[in-house]
């Protein structure tokens, strides 16, 4: 019986690489979305809400709910469940709407 999803699907990915999440190194596999890389590292939250400051992460997994918004390489409001992870990506917890001015 498979113990991990990668075993189940017999994945032979290329070499893992590093991204940083709030300054902390996290390993990602080529082809994974940022949200998948974060889940794999046991990180479930990378955003805090505007009103209550509550933690949020991926919910719908398919680009519909916008709960997974993150600031990626300085750009806020990126959907982590859709964006592929790239070596050297800098992900920072997005607070509120991610910037002082409204996003246009």
């Amino acid at each position: 019986m498979a113990r991990t999803p990668a075993e189940l699907a017999a994945a032979r990915p290329g070499p893992p690489f590093e991204i940083t999440v709030d300054g902390r190194p996290v390993t990602a596999l080529p082809g994974q979305s940022l949200a998948a890389a974060l889940w794999a590292a046991g990180i479930l939250a990378w955003r805090t809400t505007r009103i209550g400051g509550r933690p949020r992460g991926a919910f719908c997994g398919i680009g519909q709910c916008y709960d997974c918004l993150a600031t990626v390489n300085g750009r806020p409001n990126r959907r982590a469940c859709l964006l592929p992870a790239r070596a050297g990506d800098v992900v920072t917890t997005q607070e509120g709407h991610g910037r002082a001015e409204p996003d246009v």
């Binding site: 994945a11 990915p13 859709l82």
Partner: protein
């Protein structure tokens, strides 16, 4: 909305633009192309397959993609047909609007507007012109809120499966699966096969609803086979199935650490004293699916209320919507699953070809009769299933005053009840104006069913939402204001062509 036309733009007209590359879209595109139409197939994802056949990116180099799926051979067949046809595949295209253009001489052309990039964030808007449109946009998950459902680790049931299929990850090791509908069994068996421990599948309905229509069941052996497959997988992984029960609260501070499971009565009211708390590190939850039809409603296509309370498109025997030139197939016409989506896509592709080429004989063949018979049989089953799992009115009893109903705008159940009882709101629209529920990023996709239900004050189960969204996906003002170029499959900022289609 800016004027999307540009006189200097090169000609980019197709006979048919298919929006969505899942089962319905692939079948429709293949069928139309095989009958001689020029076809563009647009999808937001990088690879074809939609949600049902979502698969890991090629870089993950998966040797057994079929281990994550059911009926994989159906998909490889569809991919082969599309690859062998002349269909132009436009991946990474987030369609936000379809508009109609009339040249004054009675010629109607449709213009599909899309944002590009993995998350639609590339500032290169694109338009595709076509004489006909096939909407194969599928569905999204229907959610009902409960205390704690915004905690990290509480994820959509379909979401957990999507993340597993595409990224080979799990939200936790000990994952409850809860909500209602047949998807729960599929999700639980996939998560278990991938190594998660599933303490229980918690289904709010019973399965008795199915037994009331034995004829429909007997006519759909494929569906029964699926149920048996999932059931056997769950037995093998020692997953318990609790029916007439729900997760009525999730607990934790920064992430879910436990859930409360309660017994429900027939109306989904929690039975007092039945609650017990169980530890877990994730919860995959969902209450069925809802058709994704905003492109169609923006075009004024007629809708109907499906038996599960969702709003679906009105379609005729050849998958035509009420707007001439616009076809739809699959979940947009009501939740029915992958098989019915494929059959309907096929029918729509043939129907479009018959109409555009004036070859009416194309739809009077034995093949079309067979497809229609299969569709009707599977739709009958889908209706039995939808009725069996439609939310009961009592679910609102598990809300506390401070339960967030709208995740984006953090609008609580108390805010919504106040709008209803004190301010007289009677529908989701008034609640939205008074509370901002449904005005956030997701435009009510996550809270819509709950808000409509709360606005109706529990009189009905889940009334249809008259929700209209001006843009099917959010689009930045920057993208809106930059000129759109015609779609070009070879443009550098377009996602690379689907490698898995060509590597067969």
């Amino acid at each position: 909305m800016p004027n999307p036309t540009s006189d200097s733009a090169p000609h980019d007209g197709y006979d048919l633009a298919v929006i969505g590359a899942g089962c319905a879209g692939l079948a429709g595109a293949a069928a139309a192309s095989e009958l001689g139409l020029s076809v563009a197939l647009l999808d937001m994802a990088r690879q074809t397959g939609g949600q049902f056949y979502r698969r890991p990116a090629p870089e993950l180099r998966v040797e057994r993609p079929q281990a994550l799926h059911h009926d994989w051979s159906v998909f490889t067949g569809l991919r082969r047909r599309v690859a062998a046809s002349g269909v132009t595949r436009l991946t990474g295209h987030h369609v936000w609007s379809v508009t109609r253009e009339d040249d004054g001489g009675g010629n109607v052309e449709w213009v599909v507007h899309a944002a590009t990039g993995a998350d639609g964030g590339d500032e290169r808007p694109v338009r595709v012109r076509a004489r006909a449109i096939l909407l194969a946009t599928g569905s999204y998950e229907r959610h009902l809120p409960f205390p704690g459902w915004t905690l990290p680790g509480v994820v959509g049931a379909g979401g957990a499966q999507a993340m597993l299929k595409s990224g080979l990850v799990l939200p936790g090791r000990r994952v409850f699966v809860a909500g209602s509908g047949p998807l729960l069994l599929a999700v639980a068996s996939s998560l278990a096969a991938a190594g998660a421990r599933i303490p229980a599948v918690v289904e709010a309905s019973g399965y008795l609803g199915y037994s009331r229509r034995p004829g429909v069941l007997a006519a759909n052996p494929l569906k029964l086979g699926e149920a048996v497959t999932h059931g056997a997988a769950l037995l093998r992984h020692r997953v318990r199935l609790s029916t007439r029960s729900a997760v009525t609260a999730a607990h934790g501070t920064d992430r879910v650490a436990a859930v409360t499971v309660s017994r429900l009565d027939r109306d989904w009211r929690p039975v007092p004293g039945s609650e017990h708390r169980i530890a877990c590190d994730a919860l995959a939850v969902g209450f069925g699916l809802a058709p994704q039809i905003e492109l169609a409603t923006a075009l004024d296509c007629a809708t109907r209320r499906a038996v599960d309370g969702t709003t679906a498109l009105v379609l005729d025997g050849l998958q035509r919507t009420s707007v001439p030139g616009i076809w739809a197939a699959g979940e947009t016409g009501g939740i029915g699953g992958a098989h019915v989506a494929r059959v309907e896509g096929e029918l729509a592709g043939i129907g479009v070809a018959a109409q555009l080429s004036g070859r009416g004989a194309l739809v009077r063949t034995g093949r079309v009769r067979t497809l229609r018979r299969r569709r009707d049989r599977m739709r009958a089953f889908a209706d039995v299933m939808a009725a069996a799992h439609a939310p009961g009115p009592g679910w609102t009893r598990w809300l506390t005053d401070d339960t967030d109903v709208c995740r984006c705008e953090e609008v609580t159940a108390a805010d919504i009840r106040e709008a209803v009882t004190d301010l007289g709101a009677r529908d989701a629209r008034s609640v939205k104006l008074l509370t901002r529920a449904g005005m956030g990023w997701c435009q009510g996709r996550m809270c819509g069913a709950a808000v409509t239900c709360l606005a109706a004050s529990g009189g009905e189960s889940v009334p249809p939402s008259a929700e209209r969204r001006p843009f099917a996906v959010p689009i930045t003002l920057a993208a809106l204001s930059s000129p759109e170029s015609p779609a070009d499959a070879d443009a550098p900022s377009t996602a690379p062509p689907d490698p898995a289609v060509t590597d067969d």
